[in-house]
């Protein structure tokens, strides 16, 4: 999937995930929307349940990316809030301005290749 970074806007980093501004969501990704779970779009899944999420909204959409490390987020109209679902060592919420974003999750090397950094 091809996309261009939008360097006029700044990234957001929350724990092990980055939201990096891009010019537009790739066309191939638009065909693969990610469903919300219990009203939440899970930006980064945590094996201990401490997900990073954006609340579901008609004008907030998430799309499947190229691999387990990358998806896309589209926020239209109004800002959305990136939240961390943990009641201890909580990564502070961030207001995300409208626009297209690459969701870039942290990875780590292993003997089997790159793996998602788990928390």
């Amino acid at each position: 999937m091809k996309f261009d970074f939008d360097t006029s806007r700044k990234s957001h980093a929350q724990g092990d995930v980055y939201l990096i501004p891009i010019v537009a969501i790739p066309a191939e990704a638009l065909a693969q929307p990610v469903e919300a779970e219990a009203g939440k779009l899970i930006v980064t899944h945590s094996e201990t349940g401490h997900h990073h999420i954006v609340m579901e909204r008609p004008d907030v959409k998430m799309f499947r990316g190229m691999d387990m490390f990358r998806d896309f987020l589209l926020i239209e109209n109004n800002p959305a809030t990136l939240e961390h679902l943990r009641d201890h060592h909580t990564h502070a919420p961030q207001e995300i301005q409208p626009g297209a974003y690459l969701i870039q999750r942290q990875r780590q090397p292993s003997p089997e290749g790159w793996q998602r950094a788990s928390d």
Binding site: K10, H12, A13, E47, T90, H91, P93, Q106
Partner: protein, 413 residues
């Protein structure tokens, strides 16, 4: 009857809940309903022309094995009788084996007897389902439940019981209990008990039977649910096996007696469905017997109860898998302090981090990014040894995105 070629969307959507239902039966902490289990066992014994067995229920498989060993003491012939009866019971339950289907579908079965029962049901299921659908069903229900119930619980339990019932009984019964006795009695009773309880082997596993069988029973049952039809005889055997397996954790049949274990009262998994307990056992039985695992890796109980490993212990722990778990438990950042990491590049920004190299026992040099996260906690992240700067390390950790993009950050929390 035409073969069922594929699942309807509705049937496919049912699979996760169906799988969960059986997981809940096996791991949901349900206690045995004695009356129901006795009824299913009576039916099973009746199938092979045996009178209804007396049922003895214990809280854990460990307690069952101890009880069995005690029953066996002084009765050398009982062991042989036990295995003969077990074989007879299961071959009768399993009845005829479709050997062709068996050999095609299951090349690595746990035992022939085990397969006989299973393949009879599967032969009927397979003859009515398209092969692709059959594979789909098995992977959705069978293999996933298999990996959770048998591969993990079964093998973890197997290895733990073997090591603990042997070595722990040695230390607990022999060393501790009998150290209180007079010296002469101590040595006599100690050695006698040791030889009977340990040297002859307490492990009564063979192949464990019980709730872990639900993974394949679920496949059979779902096939029935979507339209496969078993003959009356097979359907009855499925009912009996599911009834027994749903009630007890494990069971051991003897002539006139069945020893049955309760299921665990609590099972904890991580998101990858690996047994995982961060602050206690991952599997607990009512009598206190427990398994301690870290993301599926068996670990010493103390690591997650009262005494986590020290950095030095973690780095030098003999078992490499347990060593990795130990490092995760105490955190790499503690270990970096302990091993005197050498700084190769320092960004000057704790959040962006510094690149360090440590010399890990048995692994040689390993580069790591030592950085502070938005919550103020320090993390040590493994990076490829090829990186030479913090910028390169950050880029590698984030899919090769240029550091200039990553550093152009509005907020880092």
């Amino acid at each position: 009857m035409a073969k069922i070629m594929k699942l309807t969307p509705e049937q496919e959507a049912e699979l996760p809940a169906f799988r969960q239902k059986y997981l809940d039966i096996a791991c949901g902490g349900l206690r045995i309903n004695r009356e129901k289990l006795q009824g299913h066992l009576n039916d099973a014994y009746a199938l092979i022309g045996k009178p209804a067995p007396a049922l003895f229920i214990f809280d854990s498989p460990a307690a069952c094995m101890l009880a069995i060993k005690i029953f066996k003491m002084g009765e050398k012939g009982l062991s042989q009788l036990y295995s003969q009866l077990r074989s007879q019971l299961y071959s009768q339950l399993g009845s005829q084996l479709d050997s062709q289907l068996y050999s095609q579908l299951y090349s690595q079965l746990r035992s022939q007897l085990y397969s006989q029962l299973r393949s009879q049901l599967y032969s009927q299921l397979g003859s009515q389902l398209d092969s692709q659908l059959y594979s789909q069903l098995y992977s959705q229900l069978g293999s996933q439940l298999d990996s959770q119930l048998y591969s993990q619980l079964g093998s973890q339990l197997y290895s733990q019981l073997r090591s603990q019932l042997g070595s722990q009984l040695d230390s607990q019964l022999y060393s501790q209990l009998y150290s209180q006795l007079r010296s002469q009695l101590y040595s006599q009773l100690g050695s006698q008990l040791y030889s009977q309880l340990c040297n002859e082997g307490l492990w009564e596993g063979g192949y464990l039977w019980g709730a872990l069988d639900l993974y394949w029973l679920a496949s059979c049952r779902f096939g029935q649910k979507i339209g496969a039809r078993y003959d009356e005889d097979s359907a009855r055997r499925l009912d009996i096996m599911e009834g027994i397996s749903s009630q007890c954790g494990y069971w051991w049949p003897f002539e006139g007696i069945v020893i049955a274990s309760e299921k665990p009262i609590r099972v904890r998994w991580d998101d990858s469905r690996l047994l995982h307990g961060e602050t206690g056992p991952s599997v607990e039985w009512a009598d206190g017997y427990a398994l301690h695992t870290w993301h599926g890796q068996s670990i010493p109980a103390a690591w997650v109860t009262d005494r986590p490993p020290t950095p030095a212990e973690a780095l030098t722990w003999e078992n490499l898998d347990q060593r990795a778990a130990a490092c995760e438990i105490i955190g790499w950042h503690h270990i970096l302090d302990e091993v005197g990491a050498v700084t190769l590049d320092d960004s000057g920004d704790p959040a962006w981090g510094k690149l360090v190299e440590v010399n890990l026992p048995d692994n040689g040099p390993q580069r790591m990014l030592d950085a502070m996260c938005g919550t103020g906690r320090r993390f040590a992240l493994l990076v490829p040894n090829s990186v030479a700067t913090v910028d390169e390390a950050q880029s590698e950790l984030h899919g090769g995105i240029p550091a200039s993009i990553l550093r152009n950050c509005h907020e880092r929390t």
